[in-house]
């Protein structure tokens, strides 16, 4: 017969022994790493916060703080973002390019992702390679090549907004493909097969089953394309014809090399907030649209192919 074990009292360890254990605990948090990480995070983010802060500076200084003011946003009648045409047009141009980029690159990219993921015939390997190449090409190489192709080959396209849009879409497509393809892999073919099994034609299986399941990836890639387009400097600069076709990054660039006013900080802050807003919305949309799938499959990073 088995009996319940007798209660015994464990020996007490001295405070010194326990402290030593706390220090030497291999699974406890290494204090050094914590320090480095938080130091890095502060170093990474605080300068930007300071720049944001100075966009609200009452004086013309970007380095010496006076008091809170919105003059650089709309207050100052000459130099604020609202009143300075170069700054205002730069904002408009940036949003124009980003919007056009999303509207063109996302559909192209979704189709390309579907095609590359399912196509295994001749040419699919080369197509996959072509799709991946923009991701590893330095922007200056792309800028030079686009500038030259528009000046020597496709001469009907001049530098300016159209050329910039064409350039933006070209480097954005690959991002869409990677994001959507990751989602495709995590979905698999089972839902389309189940749909066909239940009587759905291939068209219905694609539109009523696959597309709704791809929506999180489509939304997320739209947000990503917006962000990388808004941030783009090199392609926009190389294909710009000056004036109204300059974007916010170009304005910031030229301003930092001259003697800028805090209005530069202001325009940068506006773009920062817009981009973060859109990225956050995209992320929340992803989470919302995949809310029924968590806990069963791999995490979001895994689905993105990271």
């Amino acid at each position: 017969m088995t009996a319940v074990a007798e209660r015994r009292t464990a020996p007490q360890f001295s405070t010194v022994t326990r402290l030593r254990g706390w220090f030497r605990n291999p699974w406890g948090k290494p204090r050094f790493l914590v320090l480095v990480t938080w130091a890095y995070i502060l170093w990474s983010i605080v300068p930007v916060l300071i720049a944001v802060q100075f966009s609200f500076n009452a004086t013309r200084s970007r380095t010496i703080w006076d008091s809170f003011s919105t003059r650089w946003y709309w207050g100052d009648p000459v130099d604020s973002v609202w009143h300075d045409p170069t700054l205002r047009h730069a904002l408009v141009q940036t949003f124009k390019l980003a919007g056009a980029d999303v509207l063109i690159a996302v559909p192209l990219g979704v189709l390309l992702a579907l095609g590359l993921a399912r196509w295994h015939g001749r040419g699919s390997g080369a197509s996959n390679f072509i799709m991946l190449f923009p991701l590893v090409t330095p922007e200056i190489v792309m800028g030079v090549s686009l500038l030259l192709v528009f000046s020597e080959l496709f001469t009907f396209i001049h530098t300016g907004t159209l050329a910039q849009i064409l350039g933006h879409v070209t480097f954005s497509i690959s991002f869409v493909v990677v994001i959507v393809r990751g989602r495709l892999f995590s979905i698999g073919r089972q839902y389309e097969e189940a749909a066909a099994d239940l009587g759905a034609s291939p068209f219905v299986a694609l539109t009523r089953v696959l597309l709704p399941l791809l929506t999180p990836a489509i939304v997320a890639s739209a947000a990503v394309v917006f962000a990388i387009s808004a941030d783009d400097f090199v392609i926009s600069q190389w294909l710009s014809k000056g004036g109204d076709t300059d974007t916010v990054p170009i304005r910031i660039y030229s301003a930092t090399r001259a003697a800028p006013l805090p209005s530069v900080n202001a325009i940068a802050t506006i773009m920062l907030v817009s981009t973060l807003l859109i990225v956050t919305l995209g992320f929340l949309a992803w989470r919302f649209l995949t809310r029924g799938e968590r806990g069963q499959k791999s995490d979001d990073l895994g689905a993105l192919g990271l």
Partner: protein, 300 residues
């Protein structure tokens, strides 16, 4: 289930776009680089037929990059900047990625967000932030003089190599930390526990288990930041107004926007692209080797 032409059909528009606006432009670079220059209009005359290519300009560019040429220093400097920046990024980034992946516990989500955040902040704004801080009357100088590290404020933005390297590190490090994090996050905790169980000290376990398994992440991150860095010209231009810190990218920029002499610019771009292709091939080979060691199956 689906028609056989459906998937290639879907892929067609995107591939056509990429061919017209990505592949063909490369050929435009080659055509100009191996072309001639109209002596009267001083315009580049591209040569499209490979059999008629003029290697004169390519030779000129290689000449200038060789020891003794006017670009030799620039080339060496670029390589040094990139190498040092990569090293610093690894030294700072690896502990951060390691902590976030393995020790963050409940704060992991928050730390991940904070690490990813800079990726969404415009590069220009991040540079702008430091340009402001590094002004003669900016916070950096004020802090350093206040703590008596410096006796006088220093001009950080006038041709200082260390400022350029600092800016490159600041700008590119988030792109290194992310793949590193992903790679470290994937390492199964049980591998480390097995190592400790078999008698390895924490440092030995790190060296023999974690480090090799994270090699793929290190290589991936290195590719992600060094290739663009070689073409960077705007960072030196922003934080240093001096030709003493110019990189290869600056030369290309000069010959297109400063001169302009597009043919030389194209030839230099061609050489840069060739160099980067070799570098890329080396990376791919290393990653392939590392994957075989680990038995991992990874792909884009």
């Amino acid at each position: 289930m689906y028609r056989r032409w459906l998937w290639p059909g879907f892929a067609f528009p995107g591939i056509l776009w990429l061919i017209l606006l990505f592949v063909v432009p490369f050929y435009a670079v080659v055509g100009v680089a191996f072309g001639t220059v109209d002596p009267i209009l001083l315009q580049p005359v591209p040569i499209w037929n490979p059999l008629d290519w003029n290697v004169g300009w390519l030779n000129e560019v290689l000449h200038r990059l060789a020891p003794g040429g006017i670009w030799f220093d620039v080339g060496i400097r670029t390589i040094v900047y990139v190498a040092l920046s990569l090293a610093l990024c690894l030294v700072i980034g690896y502990p951060v990625a390691y902590y976030a992946a393995r020790h963050a516990g409940r704060l992991k989500g928050l730390i991940l967000i904070l690490i990813i955040l800079p990726l969404w902040i415009s590069y220009m704004m991040r540079m702008l932030a430091w340009v402001n801080l590094l002004q003669t009357d900016g916070y950096v100088n004020r802090f350093l003089t206040f703590t008596h590290v410096l006796s006088q404020p220093r001009d950080w933005l006038a041709g200082s190599s260390s400022t350029v390297i600092f800016a490159l590190v600041y700008g590119y490090i988030p792109y290194l930390i992310l793949p590193l994090f992903a790679s470290l996050d994937r390492i199964d905790r049980s591998h480390l526990e097995a190592a400790r169980d078999l008698g390895a000290s924490p440092w030995q376990a790190f060296r023999t288990v974690t480090l090799p398994l994270s090699k793929i992440g290190i290589l991936g991150g290195a590719v992600l930041i060094t290739l663009p860095m070689f073409g960077d010209y705007y960072t030196p231009n922003i934080v240093s107004q001096s030709p003493q810190t110019s990189m290869i990218g600056n030369q290309i920029d000069l010959y297109f926007h400063g001169g302009p002499q597009p043919t030389i610019g194209a030839a230099l771009t061609f050489v840069l692209a060739g160099f980067l292709t070799l570098l890329m091939a080396y990376y791919m080979w290393s990653i392939h080797r590392a994957q075989q060691d680990v038995g991992a199956v990874g792909a884009l």
